[in-house]
């Protein structure tokens, strides 16, 4: 696999604030890569420098071996960017929007229209963008970013402000895009989104990459306990402690939670006692990884 993006020691400061403070990463062609972190972590600034919208103070960016800064017209047809705030021409219908953007790349109108179908907006084609809902606007803006068939797609917080249903619909669209062989780079502050979509994530905080790798292995490497919860009152905390060695027990009056690194014996012991009412089992998530890395709770 060849690398689509190579970033080395990238830095950008705004006055005293070091928005991006020396980050390096590489994204392989065809990968779904996520940049993850709370608001203000430096994700957008990073993305803007990679896209060639902002000049880094220092460090290098190369996309398919070329520098995106200054504006590089050879590179531009190969990348598609969905901006955080949906950028639309005023008072144009969805169809007119996507046709306009497509024509900037020499893509014919008929091909542009197909993209409305891909993101499920055929019915909205004659609606002006001002009349579309937030989710429809996001999907339109993704379609506009993709209409010219770029090899590399940047999506900045594509699902922020969407209701859960709309988010999940959008995830399907993004998975499809990636499965067509396009490299996708996504920033998000939703950890579950990164976990569900990305082949690899980089966790950012305060302008630095704290850790990167496939979400599953980040979680696994954490070696965090599995949390088993049952309804409160089924079992006393003391009885729960005797189930297996090294079980940490807490009871908040709603659920009794057992944290253990060896869930199998605990679960079978619970089953023996017929104490499985309200059972839920949660492994560690990226949230725990973030907590571990920063020593603080994750707050989007």
């Amino acid at each position: 696999m060849s690398s689509a993006i190579k970033v080395e020691e990238l830095r950008k400061s705004y006055g005293e604030l070091r928005a991006v403070d020396g980050i390096s990463f590489e994204v392989q062609a065809g990968e779904f890569f996520g940049i993850l972190g709370p608001n203000g972590a430096g994700k957008t600034t990073t993305l803007e420098m990679v896209e060639g919208l902002r000049q880094p103070d220092s460090g290098t960016v190369s996309l398919f071996g070329e520098s995106p800064w200054p504006r590089n017209p050879r590179l531009l047809p190969r990348i598609g960017v969905q901006l955080q705030a949906s950028a639309f021409f005023e008072r144009l219908t969805a169809r007119e929007q996507i046709r306009t953007f497509a024509s900037l790349y020499g893509v014919p109108a008929r091909k542009a229209d197909e993209w409305l179908g891909v993101v499920g907006l055929e019915d909205m084609a004659d609606k002006r963008n001002e009349d579309l809902s937030g989710g429809q606007q996001q999907r339109l803006s993704i379609a506009c970013a993709l209409a010219h068939g770029p090899d590399l797609v940047f999506l900045d917080e594509p699902t922020s402000g969407l209701d859960p249903q709309a988010r999940r619909n959008l995830w399907d669209v993004l998975r499809d895009i990636n499965s067509q062989g396009r490299t996708v780079v996504l920033t998000t502050h939703y950890l579950d989104e990164a976990e569900s979509l990305c082949d690899r994530v980089a966790i950012m905080d305060h302008g630095r990459i704290l850790e990167s790798g496939p979400p599953a292995s980040l979680v696994r490497d954490l070696d965090a306990p599995t949390r088993i919860s049952i309804e409160s009152g089924v079992l006393t905390a003391d009885a729960a402690r005797t189930l297996a060695d090294g079980v940490e027990v807490s009871d908040d009056g709603v659920s009794l939670t057992l944290a253990t690194r060896t869930p199998a014996p605990v679960l079978s012991a619970l089953a023996e006692r017929d104490a499985l009412r309200g059972l839920s089992v949660r492994g560690a998530t990226l949230e725990d990884v973030f907590l571990h890395l920063t020593g603080r709770e994750y707050r989007a």
């Binding site: 531009l76 960017v81 021409f89 005023e90 900037l104």
Partner: protein, 355 residues
């Protein structure tokens, strides 16, 4: 090229679907035209009002052609009340009262308005002389006086208002169009999105320029169309279409003003305010709303530095004064000069992004 075409289409659609923009660039200036055109419809080359007391054969027996000539300068009204007629002259309501007693034509005038009474006396004197010559059998006199106002009908308000208000409308349309496109496209991140596409900057700018020129042509067509209605009675010179080049040069000059305003302003509100601050006072100082002939010297000097003055005066020359297109060439040059300087400044201040 496709980028230029589709951006022009996007801009034009955005404009023609924007009711506010349509109102301020087309209807609003048109309202001024309708309002002023209606108010000042009868002003213009004002005739001198004269009363005729009883029968005045010298006037009544004039040949039709001469009567029409006199009619352009004098508005003669007949009355039989001599005392009242003299009273009206005394009060200044009428310039003079005429009375013929046998072979004597008496002109009653007031010394209060010497100019008007002199006009009347002069005209009547020539009438009397002509009548004397005719009586003496001289049908083709060696010298003949015929009175005609130099402006013919061209001083009618609609004649200078149409090019003036049209010039102002074009200036406003181009300035606001450029300033607001630049600011809202920057605010809405459309500029940023365009920067990420391979479309050349020249395509973006030429799209804006062509849309503005089309808007200016639409404004002109509507303005001239309305002013030509019999109610307003605009009379175009033979080569009136010669105003198109100066109109395009004016559009370019005001586009560059708008680009400069848009480069400086951060919000659409600020851009509107700046554009207003530039175009509105300029309209008063440039002779767009009223002629500058009677304005003080300093104002006329100031106006030479304002692009709108050059746009409006050249448009008046070609559209209503009957001048050839070539007289607008110096003004076209000046407007293009404005364009070059202001565009360079706007380019230096240009920002793709807010931050």
């Amino acid at each position: 090229m496709t980028g230029f075409v589709s951006l022009s289409a996007a801009m034009a659609r955005g404009f023609f679907r924007d009711r506010t923009a349509m109102f301020f660039t087309i209807l609003f200036p048109l309202m001024f035209l309708v309002l002023f055109g209606g108010l000042f419809k009868d002003s213009g080359a004002s005739k001198t009002d004269v009363l005729q007391i009883g029968s005045v054969p010298v006037l009544e027996q004039l040949p039709a052609e001469a009567a029409a000539g006199i009619g352009q300068v004098l508005a003669v009204e007949r009355t039989d009340d001599r005392a009242d007629a003299l009273e009206q002259v005394r009060k200044g309501d009428k310039a003079a009262a005429l009375e013929q007693v046998g072979g004597e034509l008496i002109v009653h005038y007031s010394a209060a308005d010497q100019v008007k009474s002199a006009t009347v006396q002069g005209i009547l004197e020539s009438l009397v002389q002509e009548a004397n010559l005719a009586a003496a059998g001289v049908t083709t006199p060696a010298l003949k006086l015929s009175a005609k106002p130099v402006e013919d009908e061209s001083l009618k308000a609609i004649q200078y208002m149409t090019p003036g208000l049209l010039g102002w409308a074009i200036a406003t349309g181009a300035t606001f169009g450029a300033a607001l496109t630049l600011v809202t496209w920057r605010q809405k991140k459309i500029l940023r999105r365009l920067r990420l596409s391979p479309v050349p900057v020249t395509s973006i700018i030429s799209a804006r320029v062509s849309v503005s020129i089309v808007i200016a042509l639409v404004q002109s067509a509507i303005f001239i169309g309305v002013a030509l209605l019999p109610y307003f009675g605009l009379q175009l010179a033979d080569q009136w279409w010669g105003f198109i080049p100066i109109m395009i040069a004016g559009t370019l000059a005001f586009l560059s003003i708008g680009l400069l305003a848009g480069a400086v302003a951060k919000t659409a509100e600020a851009a509107s305010a700046i554009a207003n601050l530039i175009t509105l006072p300029m309209a008063f100082l440039s002779g767009a709303f009223f002629p500058l002939e009677g304005a003080p010297e300093w104002l006329r000097t100031v106006s030479e530095f304002l692009p709108l003055k050059h746009l409006v005066s050249s448009m008046q020359d070609v559209m209503v004064r009957g001048e050839a297109f070539s007289v607008t060439l110096p003004d076209i040059g000046i407007l293009l000069g404005f364009t070059v300087v202001l565009s360079a400044a706007a380019a230096a201040l240009f920002r793709w992004d807010d931050a």
